[in-house]
Amino acid sequence: MRARAAALLAALIAATALVVGLGASPAAAATSGPVLFGTITSNDKGLEGVKISASNDSGFSGSATTDATGAWEIKTPKSGTYVVVLDEGTLPEGVALAPDSGNTRTVNAFLGKVRIQFPTGDGVVETTSKWAQAVQLTVDGLLLGLVLALSAVGLSLIYGTTGLTNFAHGELLTLGAVSTYVYNNLLHIPLVLAAALALITCAVLGSIQDRVLWRKLRKRGTGLIAMLVVSIGLGIFLRYVILFFFGGNTVQYADYNGQAGIQIGLVSITPKAMVGGIVAIVAILLCVYWLLRTKMGKASRAVSDNPALASASGIDVERVINVVWILGATMAALAGVLLGMTQGVNWFMGFQILLLVFAGVTVGGLGTAFGALIGSLLVGLLINLSTLFVPPELKSVGALVILILVLIVRPQGLLGRRERVG
């Protein structure tokens, strides 16, 4: 009885959070005005991650971050005069704007799409040595690897305990980032607290998802491939629900926005990225401790090995699976919060990163939590270090190619066991 009441309460809290949060979100506002857009390039290469913001007298403000090709766009509500500012702190190392043009543009935008140019300067670009670049990329790669690892642990544990290849795992990550945005920007809760609330929200949602959907399917004896297809449907559904309420723009958290990087030796890193990295490491260590030392963690490994035997030896398999779901959802939400801090929040971020998470999990070995950790770190490093040789826009391609190559040489992954391969 108590458990049921608690579950009901949790569901209520989650529902309220969702209604309060999403009802107040900015996306519902119709964006039918002109679109400001442009491409930031340097030596014909698109610059990724450059932040551009636009505002007008009547209180509109929007921002965008350039994608891998250097393209950005900001949708405005109506025609008028907009001041567009490029955040020079977000330009990559060694790139500056052309000296005489400045970082601010005032434009009269009326209809359709208005291109705004920010030329980068000639000769301002100083080339850093390959070694210095490699050190910087290693640090960036480890940070990405940690984000991937956080998402991968849950994916891998859920796969291990239930056999479900969860294609809706990315949406847990998106939900983490989106709910942090809602708490931080709309309810004005400080970021750290907002992130904590977001983790709780996602933990509750993860538990509900398992109880309402997956547990029922397991009871019905739904096949694994059928469940995989169900997770694809759920993923599509959740993605477009998020888009519906949240809108298509990439947005930044209100706190610690546009923080300048500090130089440590050869490496430039923002304080928030550093804190994020430490939080991620702590979370992963806690998770490892949980798996190795606690009763529940051991039980979860027992269920992964052999559910029937685990059940026979007195382990409450359904409860273990529910805890695994809660843990997985929380870790994924944390990954979303961290990714949102560095890359901004959008409705598509989880699905975008899901393939890389899969790559990490598969390289490490499907269904092994430790393999997932190592595989994710490797994939993160590989993606960033590959930019030494391939254009940044193609960096994910390298990781996915490696995934395929690993499957040829060692299909069970680095730490996987042969019998899982089939």
């Binding site: 096949g223 694994l224 491939i225 599509i236 477009y240 193609l394 391609v397 391969v421």
Partner: protein, 327 residues
């Protein structure tokens, strides 16, 4: 509310060219998933390779459109071999992850700035199918009651359904043959088939190639229909929609993909047109016209989920003929 327009749009698009493209993709998936039990989540990649093979041959190499078709077909066969070699010996979900990754690799490569010279970046390639329309026997468009097609669309429409009919015939006859029975055997119990002395790996590879080639024709139709290829047409969602269509119609049934495509597009277009009309006329005020598109996608996701849970065999399928357990 203009009901005439809603109904005419729904009927036209339900049998229209988009339905043909998705239908061909789903027939290919039917060979993969329905008959052989292979989880190919990279069907969009096969269509992309075919469409881009065609477009690049014409616009970059300056060769004939028909040579482009050959290049596209060759491309899909090579892709199937590349994907099949590492994964067909492994369990089903490995193939799923690798194929979805491969489709994304292809999309990222063709939309990259690095290869813009060849593939046209995110804008893609346009105007390369004049040779196809030069053969157009239609002097006016088709107009049958509420169903209307323009002159050029009519030509694509007729060719498209002829291609669909051809592949349905091929699939129907192949699946009655000993070869098809081996495929179904692999779906049911791989080890049993292997113990009969069949080379399971080779059969799976043949099925992967055949399904890919059928999908390739969807890519060709999509390329000539709009006279353009764009990378984001071939996103992962495309494959997911094709799966929805296949499961809706009924997997492992020859006509499953056709029925699925007709019903899917009729529903999708009807919901979209209805909501758009309602928004435009102020009947529904709490959503905008952009959000109508998003609601359609939500319904697809929800539909796929509910279908898989409550009626995995779709409209015509047989539950016993479904490969739903990973081995």
């Amino acid at each position: 509310m203009d009901w005439g327009n809603i109904i005419s749009q729904t009927l036209t698009q339900a049998i229209g060219i988009l339905a043909i493209i998705y239908c061909l993709a789903a027939i290919g998936l039917n060979v993969h998933f329905g008959y052989t039990g292979l989880l190919n989540f990279g069907q969009a990649g096969f269509l992309a390779v075919a469409a881009y093979g065609l477009a690049v041959t014409v616009s970059y190499l300056g060769a004939s459109l028909w040579l482009g078709v050959l290049v596209g077909l060759l491309g899909t066969v090579v892709l199937a071999l590349l994907l099949g070699l590492p994964t067909l010996r492994l369990r089903a979900d490995y193939l799923a992850i690798v194929t979805i990754a491969a489709a994304e690799i292809i999309r990222l490569l063709v939309r990259s700035v690095t290869f813009r010279e060849v593939f046209g970046g995110s804008d893609g390639i346009t105007r390369f199918a004049d040779e196809f329309y030069a053969l157009n026997p239609f002097t006016t468009g088709i107009a049958l009651g509420p169903i209307t097609f323009s002159k050029n669309d009519s030509w694509v429409f007729v060719v498209g359904w002829v291609v669909v009919a051809f592949w349905l015939l091929v699939v129907w006859s192949l699946m009655r043959s000993p070869w098809g029975r081996v495929l179904k055997g692999i779906r049911e119990d791989e080890d049993a088939v292997r113990s009969l002395g069949k080379n399971v790996y080779s059969y799976k590879m043949q099925a992967l190639i055949l399904g890919g080639v059928i999908g390739a024709f969807g890519g060709f139709i999509s390329a000539v229909y709009t006279q353009s290829v764009q990378p984001d047409t071939f996103s992962t969602d495309f494959t997911f929609f094709a799966y929805t269509i296949l499961i809706l119609g009924g997997a492992a049934r020859v006509f499953g993909p056709v029925v699925g495509a007709l019903v899917f597009w009729a529903l999708i277009v009807f919901v979209g047109e209805f909501l758009n009309e309602a928004v435009a006329n102020g009947v529904i005020t709490f959503i905008t016209s952009t959000q109508v598109g998003q609601i359609r996608f939500m319904l697809v996701g929800l539909g796929l989920m509910l279908l898989m849970i409550f009626r995995p065999q779709g409209i015509f399928g047989d539950r016993k003929e479904l490969a739903l357990d990973a081995r």
